[in-house]
Symmetry: C2
Subunit: 461 residues, 2 copies
C-alpha cells in the first residue's frame, strides 16, 4: 500500500506519472460534461490540488454529487495540468468518500466576513485566510524556539497562576475554588486562607520576574507562554488571553537588549518571507497590498536608536498637529510612534531612556536620575511592537523605587534576593506573539490571529 | 574586546593558550597558599570551569575573599589542568567582581534537602541538581517542537480560559472578575452574565477538543501548553498546573496513534541521552542508578501491544497478590501497570481497547459494543506515561455516548459539527510533560521538575 502524500509535497516535489495516495477535504467540486474537478486541500499548504474524476470510477455518481467540505481519500496519477495556474493535477484512480458534507456546511464557496467567521471559529480554519494565518502562526512559533535554542537560551515555563498582584500591567483575573455562592469569611472579608492555594491568586500578566530568577542561574533564558489581562477593552488589538515571548539575559545592558531584539525580529521576518512564501503572497494579494515589501524592508533594515529626549524634540518640531500633547515626561501615543518610525526615521527605531515616572518600577535608573534604561521598538504601520528594559540590579535603588510606587518590598523578597547575592546587570524584552502575527500577515484584528479568542463577553469553544 | 565565551564551549572546544572572557557565578572558592581556585558556572553546562587566581592580580585580596555565589567577569588564558577530573582550567588575567555574595547566601556548598530547596525555588536553580533538571526540561521542550515540525504537524495554541465544564478530567479552577465580596445575583444565584466573559469560566484541563477542530483542517496538529487540575491531592505526582503535549491526527486510527507515540517517546529518550549527556550522567550517578540503562532500553525497544482483555487474563494468572482487584471492567492500577510492563513484557507496552465504561465519552466504540479504541502506554518503573485514543467520528454514536454520561449535546454543538461535515477517523494522545521529565531524570517529585510548582496551599514566587 502506498503511504499518504501531503498535498504540499505532491505539488512541489511530484513528477508526472507518479501514483499517489492523498487525503483531505474538498474545497470546491465542479462537475462538467463527463468530468468532475475537485480541489482537494489537506491543510499542509494554501493551494488545493486539482483532482480529475471521470465516469470510469465505479462510484462516479457519488463523486459527481459530492458536497463542499467532504473528506476524501484519493488514489491517482499525477499529470501535467492543462488548466491555468497549476502545473500538476491528479487523475483519480479511486475516490473514497470518508465523510460527507451537505448543503448546510457553513463554509461554502461564497465569501464570509471575518466578523461572521469568528462566530464559527471551529470552521473558519477550513478557509484560505485562516488556513494561512494558523500555518504562519505555527511556523513562527516553531522558529522562535529554534532562534533561542541556537543561541543557547534556556526555555522556562513560568507559572500561570500567581499570587503576585504587583506586576503592574492591568487588572488580574481571579483564580479560585471557593464556593462563590457562599464563600468562607473572616470578619466579613473573603477568607482566602481557605482557598486552594491558601491565598488570593490570579492569572499572570507576565513571566518576567520569574524569568529574571532563571537568568541569574542560566545566563540567557526565554519564556513563551500565555498571559492575561482582565481589561474590559473591546479594541482590535486587545485580547484577554494572549501568548508572550520574554527573553532575559544576565550580564547584559540596554544596548545588548536592543541587539537581541533587532536580530530576533529580523530573523522572524526573514523566516516568514522565505518559508511561508505561499501564505505570504496570499496575504500580500488579499489582505494588505504592501505587506511583503514592508516585511522585506524590516528584514533588511539597520534599526535606528534614538533617545526619548530627542524623540520629543523631533515631535515638537514636526509640521503636523497631533491629537495628544507632546511634552517631556508624557508617554508617546500611537500617532507619535508612527510619525517617528514612518516619517522621521523611515524604518524601525528603538526609542530609549524614557522618564522613570511613566515606566515600571523594575527598570534601571540612569545616572541622570530622571530616566530609566527602557526601550520600545517602533516599526512602520503599527508603532510599538517590542518593549524592554535593563533591570535595576542594585538593591537599594530597587527598594527605593518599589516604595515610591507603593509596592511593599517584603511582598517581593524573593525577587530582591537576586539583588542580594551575585547580582548582575541584566536586561530583557517582551513581544506579544499575536501582535507579531498581525504584523507579519496584515490581519487587522487580534481575534483573527488567535485560534479561539477570549475577549469581553466571549469565551466560546 | 573579546566576546563572551560560555563555559560549555570553553570546556568542550577551547584550546590551551587561548585568551577567553567568561562570565558567571562562583560555585566554590578555595584559597590556598598564594593561589585561589574558583569554580565558575554560567548555567550553560553542569560543570564549572576552574579559574586559577594568583597574587599578581591587582585585586587579589578581594578575589581571595570572594563568597560563594558572587557574580564575576573573568579574562584569562586556557591551560591544561594538573587537577584530576578536568582537562582545562583558566589562569586569570583579571577578575572583576560584578555582584558580591556574603555568608548569608542560601546556596552554600553544603547539601540541602529537596524539601528545603522548594522553599527557595528562586535560588535552587543555582544548584547542580536543579541546573541539570531545568536544562533537560528546556532541551526536551525544544526537541518536542522539532519532532513535530519535521513531520509537518501544526502547533496550535488552544485556549487556557474555557467555558466548557465537560472535558471530564477533574475539578476546574474558576476564573472570574466578579467582586467575590459582593457578587451580582439573580434569584439568589451568582449572575455570571455579569462576569467578564458573560458566563462561568474556568481553566482548561486539556486542549484536545479544540485540537480536534484544527486536525479537521490541517490533518496533523499538536498542542503544548499549560493545563490545570483543582484536585486537592498532595502526592509526588500531582500538580495543579502542568504542561501537556497533545497531538491529534486526522485520517488516523488507534494503530497510527500508537506508532506516533512510540516514535515520539523513543526520539525524546534518544535525544536526552545524546544531547544532555553531562546532565544525564549526573542523574545516573546522584539520583537514580539505573537511569541511563533504562532510558537506553526504551530508546531501543520495539514497543509491545496487548489488548486490555489479554492484560486482565495475564494479571489474573500472575503469581503475585495485588492490593487492588483484577476483573474485566475495572481500571488498571499502578501496581497492575508496572507488573505488565516490568514482569510480563519486560519493556514498554501499549494496552489497547479498554471497556467503554471506564473511559471518556469521545473515544471510538469498537465493533464489540463494549470496548473503545483507547490506549495507554506503560513503561518500566512508572507505569502509564501516555494515554490516547481514536476519537468517535460518527455523529450518532457520539451523541449517544454523551447522553449516556450526562453531557448535553447542545453544549458541545461546535464539537459535534466536525462530525456533521467532512468527518474523518482521527486519533491523538496526551503526554504530561512533567511526567516525562521525571521519567528522563529520575527525579521523584513533580515539584522538583517544575520551575515554581503550584500545589494545594502553594503558589509562591
Amino acid at each position: 500500500m502506498t503511504a499518504r502524500t501531503r498535498v504540499k509535497q505532491a505539488l512541489s516535489e511530484g513528477r508526472p506519472g507518479e501514483t499517489l495516495l492523498l487525503k483531505g477535504w474538498a474545497r470546491t467540486v465542479r462537475t462538467g460534461k463527463g468530468v468532475t474537478f475537485i480541489s482537494l486541500n489537506d491543510g499542509s499548504t494554501l493551494a488545493g490540488i486539482q483532482v480529475v474524476a471521470e465516469p470510469e470510477l465505479a462510484n462516479y455518481a457519488e463523486v459527481a454529487a459530492l458536497g463542499t467540505g467532504s473528506a476524501l481519500t484519493v488514489t491517482g496519477v499525477l499529470q501535467e495540468s492543462p488548466a491555468a495556474g497549476q502545473e500538476l493535477e491528479l487523475k483519480a484512480l479511486s475516490v473514497e468518500v470518508v465523510g460527507t458534507a451537505d448543503q448546510e456546511y457553513p463554509m461554502q464557496k461564497k465569501r464570509h466576513s471575518f466578523e461572521y467567521l469568528r462566530t464559527i471559529a471551529h470552521m473558519r480554519v477550513r478557509s484560505n485566510t485562516f488556513g494561512a494565518v494558523f500555518r504562519v502562526r505555527s511556523a513562527l512559533a516553531q522558529e522562535v524556539h529554534r532562534f533561542f535554542a541556537e543561541r543557547g537560551f534556556l526555555y522556562v515555563h513560568t507559572p500561570i497562576i500567581t499570587a503576585n498582584d504587583c506586576e503592574g500591567a492591568g487588572e488580574l483575573f481571579r483564580v479560585t475554588t471557593l464556593d462563590l455562592n457562599n464563600p468562607p469569611r473572616v470578619e466579613g472579608e473573603i477568607d482566602f486562607a481557605q482557598d486552594f492555594f491558601a491565598k488570593a491568586t490570579g492569572l499572570t500578566v507576565s513571566g518576567q520576574l520569574e524569568g529574571e530568577l532563571f537568568a541569574q542561574a542560566f545566563s540567557d533564558i526565554y519564556t513563551f507562554g500565555p498571559t492575561f489581562r482582565a481589561e474590559n477593552s473591546n479594541t482590535a488589538r486587545h485580547a484577554a488571553e494572549f501568548w508572550m515571548i520574554e527573553p532575559e539575559m544576565a550580564f547584559a545592558d540596554l544596548s545588548d537588549d536592543a541587539d537581541l531584539a533587532e536580530a530576533f525580529l529580523k530573523r522572524l521576518c526573514r523566516f516568514a518571507l522565505d518559508n511561508c512564501d505561499d501564505d505570504m503572497r496570499f496575504f500580500n494579494a488579499q489582505i494588505d497590498k504592501g505587506l511583503i515589501e514592508r516585511i522585506e524592508g524590516v528584514a533588511q533594515a539597520s534599526f535606528a536608536r534614538m533617545d526619548y529626549g530627542e524623540a520629543i524634540e523631533r515631535l515638537k518640531k514636526a509640521p503636523v498637529s497631533f491629537q495628544f500633547p507632546v511634552e517631556w515626561g508624557l508617554d508617546l501615543q500611537s500617532e507619535h510612534e508612527r510619525y517617528l518610525t514612518e516619517q522621521v526615521v523611515g524604518g524601525p527605531v528603538f526609542i530609549m531612556n524614557y522618564p522613570k515616572d511613566i515606566k515600571a518600577f523594575y527598570m534601571r535608573l540612569n545616572d541622570d536620575g530622571r530616566t530609566v534604561a527602557a526601550m520600545d521598538l517602533l516599526v512602520p504601520k503599527v508603532g510599538e511592537i517590542i518593549g524592554g528594559s535593563q533591570r535595576e540590579e542594585r538593591l537599594e535603588p530597587l527598594i527605593g523605587r518599589m516604595m515610591e510606587v507603593g509596592i511593599e518590598p517584603e511582598s517581593l523578597s524573593w525577587y530582591l534576593d537576586t539583588r542580594r547575592w551575585g547580582s548582575t546587570p541584566h536586561a530583557g524584552f517582551g513581544l506579544g506573539f499575536e501582535r507579531l502575527i498581525m504584523y507579519l500577515t496584515g490581519m487587522e484584528n487580534i481575534r483573527d490571529v488567535i485560534p479561539f479568542p477570549r475577549t469581553p463577553r466571549h469565551a466560546e469553544f
